[in-house]
Symmetry: C2
Subunit: 141 residues, 2 copies
């Protein structure tokens, strides 16, 4: 039975579910930052997904990255499966700008996260979620 | 006509080619670190690959990650498409150990790369390359 790792639950807000992955918003207003978590128990690496899930993961990741890139007019997307601190398989999708707090470095460990204000987060969700295909939102508008 | 970005060429050794991607070894002996570069001009993001190339990329990345993970007995794989400094699409596949120089942080920007000794690099290639399927090696043994 799939359960989200407590560190991921603590650091994020759940936006909803694609057919395979839960979609989370990282609570760091410095960067538009979403995380996909395939709802499969005990996985740490992308290659551990079965072939059908790998296909679905590919679709979800590319779809999410493209929506984020276009909606936020990213200078660059950063896509990463690291998992050194939280081993549950999760894939970061981060919008980067040349003007952001960490550019050109990766975002991990740069200064301190800035939590969203509730209205800021709500506005982001209202604008973004309707663009997701195959998506079951857990946020009611 | 595909040409490898000069920064990637400067920082790596070419091991050979999968059907889609060139496989490069990062010249940093602190971590087993390979990079896949899809041989397609002008791409910056994974989602810009056409559907057939996305499939092939998925196969190559999962295959490479699994071979590296098993061969080096990784504690964790780090897989990332960043591209903030070198925008040509390239995907890092890095073997991580709890005992390595940067753990648990990501490797980018941690201290200075340590170049391979030639015999060290040759030994790594001899051990690793025969495990790659669908691979055209540019290294002669």
């Amino acid at each position: 039975m799939f359960a989200l790792h407590p560190q991921l639950a603590a650091d994020t807000f759940c936006l909803g579910n694609f057919p395979l992955s839960q979609a989370l918003l990282m609570d760091d207003a410095r960067y538009p930052w979403l995380i996909l978590v395939p709802r499969r128990d005990g996985l740490r690496e992308i290659f551990e997904l079965n072939p059908e899930d790998q296909q679905q993961f590919l679709w979800e990741s590319c779809h999410l990255a493209e929506v984020l890139c276009r909606h936020f007019q990213a200078d660059k997307m950063n896509i990463a499966a690291l998992g050194n601190m939280v081993p549950q398989l999760h894939i970061h999708h981060i919008v980067r700008y040349r003007s952001d707090a960490a550019w050109p470095k990766p975002v991990w460990g740069v200064q301190t996260a800035v939590s969203y204000q509730p209205d800021q987060r709500a506005a982001l969700c209202r604008a973004l979620i309707p663009q997701f295909q195959q998506f079951d939102s857990c946020i009611k508008f």
